[in-house]
């Protein structure tokens, strides 16, 4: 099946790239429709929120270390907001709660 794998990978990589490329390539002018612009403005917030919760809670082996990571992440993002600091705080939280739980 080895030849097949390379062809399959080529087809799928090409498809994924086209999905990413077409809007960027063809939406060159600023969109003037207010609804569409508002929609696109809100997209990242909804997308990231939906992807974060409840996934963060179930990502770890123990639900409670995930809950702790969420709490610490929320607090750190609120008071600090630096990506690296928040991300590392969450990892450390899971590691430490992993030692205890």
């Amino acid at each position: 099946m080895n030849d097949n794998v390379y062809i399959s990978l080529l087809i799928m990589c090409g498809t994924v790239y086209m999905i990413r490329l077409l809007p960027l390539l063809f939406l060159r002018k600023p969109i003037t429709n207010r609804f569409v612009r508002s929609f696109l403005f809100y997209v990242p917030y909804v997308t990231l929120a939906v992807m974060t919760f409840p996934a963060i809670v179930t990502a770890t082996e123990n639900v409670w270390s995930g809950v702790a990571a969420l709490a610490v992440g929320l607090i750190m993002a609120w008071i600090n907001g630096d990506l690296f600091v928040v991300a590392v705080s969450c990892c450390v939280t899971v590691f430490l709660t992993g030692l205890v739980l």
């Binding site: 609804f35 569409v36 909804v46």
Partner: protein, 275 residues
């Protein structure tokens, strides 16, 4: 036109540029929330490498699991390297492995890829508005490669137009973690202690929080939207009717519904276009 003086849609979030934390202001750059942004391309590259680091860690952990799966399906380290470098998509690659394993036909491969990765289409639409209209087309081809959940999140969080080299810098370090993690997963399987993999797995979510919480703090409507999004996402994952929906598809459905509702309830102020 200088980046710092351009008027653009992202100035619409009230008070984000007029920060109260003036005492922490640095010599140059844009003040946005609590974060100061670089004003040079070089500055953006450094910032991208720094911001990309947590992505690199998170990707490594996720890709490691992907590599283990790739090995099970029968891919070599080199093939899985090609897959990860060419596709850079978590759910997309898990789906790709299933397709390869089941010897799926071309049509099935293409349709599954489109459905699983459809959110990148939305993100690409959104990001198209962040690029300066006069930007050379080569950057459209370049930025397109970089659209993943995390890199999109960072790229769309910057004020004003996006400096593509910021996105490239994030992508270089992230893909290093992603492809490296996949290859390591194939080669060394389960050598990394599970506790370390476990801890790394939340890195990406921590980063998401760092992207959405500061604007939510400044703007109550965005805050409400984030809270509602999380709540509905949770409801979707427990209701028997919707729990079976794949995570990629769930993201698409909820994004269209909730961002659409938000746009209907509170359309953004249209800024003057200066170009």
């Amino acid at each position: 036109m200088e980046k710092n003086t351009s008027i653009h849609e992202n100035n619409i979030v009230p008070d984000n540029n007029v920060s109260e934390t003036l005492e922490t202001e640095m010599e140059s750059g844009l003040e946005f929330g609590h974060i100061t942004y670089p004003s040079t391309r070089r500055g953006w590259v450094f910032r991208g490498l720094r911001d990309g680091f947590p992505i690199c860690l998170g990707y490594f952990a996720v890709a490691f699991a992907l590599g283990i799966e790739a090995k099970r399906v029968g891919l070599t380290a080199f093939q899985s390297f090609l897959m990860s470098t060419g596709m850079v998509a978590s759910a997309g690659e898990f789906a790709a492995l299933l397709l390869i394993e089941s010897h799926a036909g071309v049509i099935e491969m293409i349709t599954t890829c489109i459905i699983v990765n459809l959110r990148y289409f939305l993100m690409s639409c959104s990001l198209s508005q962040k690029l300066k209209p006069s930007i050379p087309a080569v950057h459209r081809f370049g930025v397109a490669y970089c659209i993943t959940d995390e890199i999109f999140g960072l790229s769309s969080a910057v004020p004003d137009y996006l400096e593509p080299f910021y996105t490239y810098a994030i992508t270089v370090i992230s893909v290093l973690g992603w492809s490296g993690g996949t290859v390591m997963g194939v080669l060394v399987g389960s050598i990394l202690p599970p506790m370390a993999v476990n801890a790394l797995s939340v890195s990406l979510y921590g980063m998401f929080l760092a992207i959405i919480i500061p604007p939510a703090k400044e703007n109550h409507f965005i805050g409400g939207l984030v809270a509602v999004s999380m709540a509905v996402s949770w409801v979707f994952s427990v209701l028997p009717l919707t729990a079976g929906i794949s995570s990629g598809f769930k993201v698409i459905i909820l994004t269209i519904l909730l961002a659409g509702a938000a746009a209907y309830l509170k359309p953004i102020e249209m800024a003057e276009e200066t170009d």
